[in-house]
Symmetry: C2
Subunit: 429 residues, 2 copies
């Protein structure tokens, strides 16, 4: 790091942790399950960095739960919990975050929040698939804000990309693996596990609920696809009919069918502009194992966009889990910021002390075998494999894991203008 | 599409093409090469959709070029072109878009635009890598706006994801293939093409300039990595020292070295928080051919993020080309919008008329061979392959390309409660 020190001067002077300019944002949270609980933890963990980078202090003023008396491992006082939606809204929140799922009280909370110009952030795909257009209209008319990144694609920020990062009319097709539960189960079946064992494992890891019916039938993916089609093509999500066939009643047979063609099964959601108009479907596809869709493993999700001007874009990430969903909710709460960083103390000079694998090659010379042992000693590195007589006249040396500094010391000892060394870092092969 | 018709009522009533509310945004463009020319074309092509969806009319008020007299295939009047940067700024633009590259007049244009609170949108990675922190400071102090999505990752909206879609302190490592030219050449070498032929082909396709030195040396990727490290970790880009080794002087040897280990070479840019602090490097890596990095082919780019809470995210897309870059510039010009769609006429009811490939399976029954010909005739589909005696007691039928409707008709003719049909769509295998 050229001349970097712990403290910086100039444009990016460090902002003190308790910057006086930090604005307090009052957050009301509906739901304190896996996602809501993770969000409370994140808000507590990242208090300092949010003040520093967003000049924002989030205060959780009220949490709506079924049973306020239940013991919870949260940093919040018990009196902040309530079972009454009216009390949640009466707490004068700047942002209402909804992480309950289901129809009510989610819809009422959204309507009331947006109708008075507030911000509503939700992970509720069913709510947005059914009422997104109405709620967006409310937000527009009353100057409110509606964000729902966490509703689609788990930790993948696909909605923000569709809303902010592509020009209008930019997308001609959206294709994706949107249900992590189904993908986890299909991957387990590919690996020879029985469906019962796969489902037990998915439940143990928190990737499947007691009843995976909404997942395996394709209905969950269809709701998410409605939201994607809305943002990509502008249709009201509730009016988009998605041709939906899941992998029921026999997911294992779908897997065996694909194997008979040398492929693997993926439950793929697609909306596309065809010559006859836009179409939308969720159905099992047979794809090549190494293809973009086939390479999506376990609970991961993938969304690929075909664009008019930007070719094909693909985004992949975790499709399920409380932490990724909470992380995306928090980003939505902070959105509107879109700020460039103000922090500056993160890049103190650091030496890369990691032990990595390296491959060196050098044109063969008669003296090399004689010189090499001393050179290796001097650079304090050890070979894992050595090929002095490559067919192309090049000697190759795979090093045991060592630092970049040592690998480069060896390279410079062996290198000359006539016989330059090529040094590559070796990833897990 | 359930009950959809050409016209819609409700929250998403169509906005007339010449909506009176459309705000005019005056755009001054610096540079009219491949990227600038594509941007002018895009602005003309998407006039209607921008009015409808963003309520914005972009007016290109001035274009800065070296030779205003040169004949150009643009929809603009000749008097809009100028060779004088002062005249560009005097045109009272709302947004200055810089697509020239290089140090000047880009830096002066940026400083002057931001110092008076204007919006500056650029594709210039060298400018941002060298002066990003200063310019961001100017924008912050004067209420201006600085956007540079097109500077990194070609058509991949990675900067927007880092700025808006992750909570603070969310990223622990950024890893990517950021130079499309080098990746194109390395992929050609893998395929057995000589370096000279590969370079000629890359130039012919517009993926390499006359001198690919900045690309192959890793300097281009290092500038982009500085910008990524800035947004991920907050360090001033100019102060981040990137350990840079490219694939010079002999890209073909790097490729042969990787092949000797059964891998492929990729020029990988990485910044990561290690136990000793943050480190940044651009260097050749040997990676497995089917791995995330190894699967990046030709001029494509890929950025993968390791996050604290959201697991690993990966974004892939076109890394080079005038159209993707112009498309990203246009999205940056329109940014701040972040609007949910207002259009509503896009999803007229459409039947999926595409001819796709399908695979059906059905538990074997004694009557199946006898029934099948008549059923196929009735559904008007033809088999490409038929396996009546699968080892698992299942008969499988691969259809010649046909519509979903016909494939489903066949499935429902063959299906029964005791012997349900599994129907899968078959992608290119």
């Amino acid at each position: 790091m050229s001349g970097a020190t712990g403290t910086r001067v100039g444009e990016f002077a460090p902002v003190p942790a308790a910057a006086p300019a930090a604005r307090t944002v009052r957050v009301a949270l509906a739901g304190c399950g896996v996602v809501g609980g993770n969000l409370l933890r994140l808000i507590a963990d990242q208090r300092t960095s949010m003040q520093r980078e967003h000049a924002v202090r989030l205060e959780v003023v009220r949490v709506l739960v079924r049973d306020p008396a239940k013991a919870r491992a949260t940093p919040l006082l018990a009196e902040r919990f309530t079972a009454d939606p009216a009390e949640l809204l009466a707490s004068a929140p700047d942002v209402v975050v909804e992480a309950m799922g289901g129809a009510e009280p989610a819809l009422s909370l959204a309507r009331r929040t947006l109708a008075r110009g507030g911000a509503f952030v939700t992970a509720n795909k069913q709510l947005i698939a059914a009422h997104g257009a109405e709620l967006a209209g409310l937000a527009r008319r009353h100057g409110g804000r509606l964000d729902f990144e966490a509703a689609v694609g788990g930790g993948i920020p696909i909605l923000r990309v569709l809303r902010d990062s592509l020009p209008p009319d930019g997308v001609t097709a959206v294709r994706g693996i949107l249900n992590g539960t189904t993908n986890f189960l299909l991957c387990a079946l590919e690996g020879g596990v029985t469906f019962a064992d796969a489902l037990a494992e998915a439940r143990r890891l928190g990737f499947a609920e007691a009843d995976p019916g909404r997942d395996l039938s394709g209905r969950d993916a269809a709701d998410k696809l409605r939201i994607l089609a809305w943002l990509a093509f502008g249709a009201e999500p509730a009016r988009i009919s998605v041709h939906t066939r899941g992998v029921l009643p026999d997911p294992a047979r779908y897997s065996a069918d694909a194997a008979a063609l040398g492929g693997v099964t993926r439950l793929v959601a697609e909306c596309a502009l065809t010559t006859r108009g836009p179409v939308a479907s969720v159905e099992p596809w047979v794809v090549a194992p190494g293809s973009e869709l086939g390479a999506v493993s376990r609970e991961r999700n993938l969304v690929s966009l075909t664009t008019r001007e930007s070719g094909d874009l693909a985004l992949a990430g975790p499709g399920a889990g409380g932490a990724p969903t909470a992380s995306v909710l928090l980003a939505d709460v902070l959105h509107g910021a879109g700020r460039l960083p103000v922090r500056s103390d993160a890049f103190a000079a650091a030496v890369d002390a990691r032990e990595l694998k390296w491959l060196l090659s050098v044109p063969r010379s008669p003296s090399l075998p004689r010189l090499l042992p001393a050179v290796l000693r001097r650079a304090r590195v050890a070979p894992e494999r050595l090929e002095l007589d490559g067919a192309d006249g090049v000697a190759r040396l795979l090093l045991r894991p060592t630092t970049r500094a040592r690998a480069e010391a060896l390279a410079s000892l062996l290198s000359s203008d006539e016989a330059p060394v090529c040094l590559s870092r070796v990833a897990n092969l």
